[in-house]
């Protein structure tokens, strides 16, 4: 059980860090830029919200298996398979939790008063200075919400990581899969304890989100 929790924690932390760096520029692009294919990109980012996790996992597996281009390149570079490995699970988690990173940040960026961005131009701020002095401080709460949601969401993944990771003990078996197996093998005490731990973590993360937001999650403005 400790193994599974440790793997889940590592997966959640790594996914959160990666999605901070991918989610912020993606959210920025979707908020402030107009370009051909913007709606398609927005739909692709939101897809994991509605897609059955096994479907997403299946497609990711197709891409990262050793006979596919990405999978074979990985095999050549690192001399190990991306499918059914921890790294493969990270790739899958990043896709699966992408909307939980991008959408709160997008809402936060949208809530920035236009006049603050005009001020940045008038003051002659570079793009980097505008991000540093205006965009990030103004959307701090949205970014924190994104971090908390991605972390909590990754902790609770099941279908995607099962498809891509394959539940190898000590390597890709995460807490939610371990719980399923405890139940299947009728290990009631272990199942009870693990479920309580996962419940506790999710409760704490959502409490953080709500205390940052102080408004209902799906209807409120993330930046207030």
């Amino acid at each position: 059980m400790i193994d599974a929790l440790w793997i889940t924690l590592q997966l959640a932390l790594i996914t959160t860090v990666i999605l901070l760096f991918i989610g912020a520029p993606l959210a920025y692009t979707l908020t402030f830029k107009t370009f051909f294919g913007r709606t398609v990109l927005e739909v692709l980012v939101a897809l994991p919200l509605v897609l059955p996790p096994t479907v997403l996992g299946y497609y990711i597996l197709l891409i990262i298996q050793p006979s596919a281009m990405v999978g074979s390149m990985w095999q050549v570079m690192f001399n190990q398979s991306l499918a059914f490995s921890f790294s493969g699970m990270v790739v899958a988690s990043v896709f699966y939790s992408l909307p939980f990173s991008v959408q709160p940040m997008q809402q936060a960026f949208r809530a920035i008063p236009v006049v603050w961005l005009e001020l940045a131009k008038v003051q002659g701020l570079t793009f980097k200075e505008t991000c540093l002095h205006i965009i990030f401080p103004a959307s701090k709460s949205g970014i924190l919400v994104a971090v908390a949601l991605v972390f909590a969401h990754t902790m609770g993944e099941f279908g995607v990581v099962l498809m891509v990771g394959g539940s190898i003990p000590g390597e890709t078996k995460v807490a939610s899969i371990a719980l399923f197996e405890f139940v299947e093998m009728q290990q009631g005490d272990d199942a009870w304890l693990l479920a309580l731990i996962l419940l506790g973590i999710s409760f704490v993360m959502l409490s953080i989100v709500y205390s940052i937001n102080k408004k209902p999650l799906l209807t409120g403005n993330m930046d207030q």
């Binding site: 006049v115 001020l119 131009k121 008038v122 002095h133």
Partner: protein, 212 residues
């Protein structure tokens, strides 16, 4: 005349149609609400898309026919909005310096002239609207811009402070020899400050009075 504007653009119901020349002087723009004063200032700042030509210091900032648009970030202008527009997470001093170099002597001089020296380490939420407006004016002047655009810069000030700020603006204009454009409803601004006075109606300048 070293600066010139010849722009024409439809903004909703307003047709902005301005052709005018000016020197390094204080220009007060008056007119009813919706006459296009703020829009004109925003066009000069590059904050609105507009067709025509804008030349400042004989440099072309805009020539829509030749598709030349100098971005706002490199125009070296300063703009004061009718609301103060201060960043709430920065203290007053950092709001004034925003994006510029720290010049302690200049900062002290401007803060003292604007009567905000005692507020330098406070945050914007602790300020009255008049104080916040003076901070915004200080921030604009601190940039040492080549063009200063002010939209109702004294609207929240008591009469005695308005007097003081007008004298400060006149001194700045004389020392730095820059053009200063002020959109204002206050006839006193036009009377005391204006070396040129533009009266705007429905997007056009209808009267130009030069006293310089």
């Amino acid at each position: 005349m070293i600066h010139s504007i010849a722009i024409r653009q439809q903004f909703g119901a307003l047709l902005l149609n301005v052709t005018v020349k000016f020197d390094n002087e204080i220009i007060v723009i008056s007119g009813e609400n919706g006459a296009g004063k703020t829009t004109l200032l925003r066009c000069m700042a590059g904050l609105e898309k507009v067709s025509g030509i804008i030349k400042i210091n004989k440099k072309i900032w805009l020539n829509s026919a030749a598709k030349i648009i100098v971005p706002t970030t490199v125009r070296n202008i300063a703009f004061v909005w009718s609301d103060a527009v201060l960043l709430p997470w920065l203290n007053i001093e950092d709001n004034i310096i925003l994006g510029g170099k720290n010049d302690a002597a200049l900062l002290a001089f401007i803060c003292s002239e604007c009567g905000i020296n005692h507020l330098r380490h406070r945050i914007p939420s602790m300020l009255s609207s008049g104080e916040a407006q003076r901070v915004a004016l200080a921030r604009a002047i601190y940039r040492k811009p080549c063009l200063l655009l002010l939209d109702e810069p004294f609207s929240a000030q008591a009469p005695s402070i308005r007097c003081r700020l007008r004298i400060f603006l006149q001194n700045i204009q004389q020392q730095w020899a820059i053009p200063i454009l002020i959109a204002s409803h206050d006839p006193e601004d036009a009377r005391v400050l204006a070396q040129q006075h533009w009266d705007m109606q429905e997007g056009s300048i209808v009267v130009v009075n030069s006293s310089g």
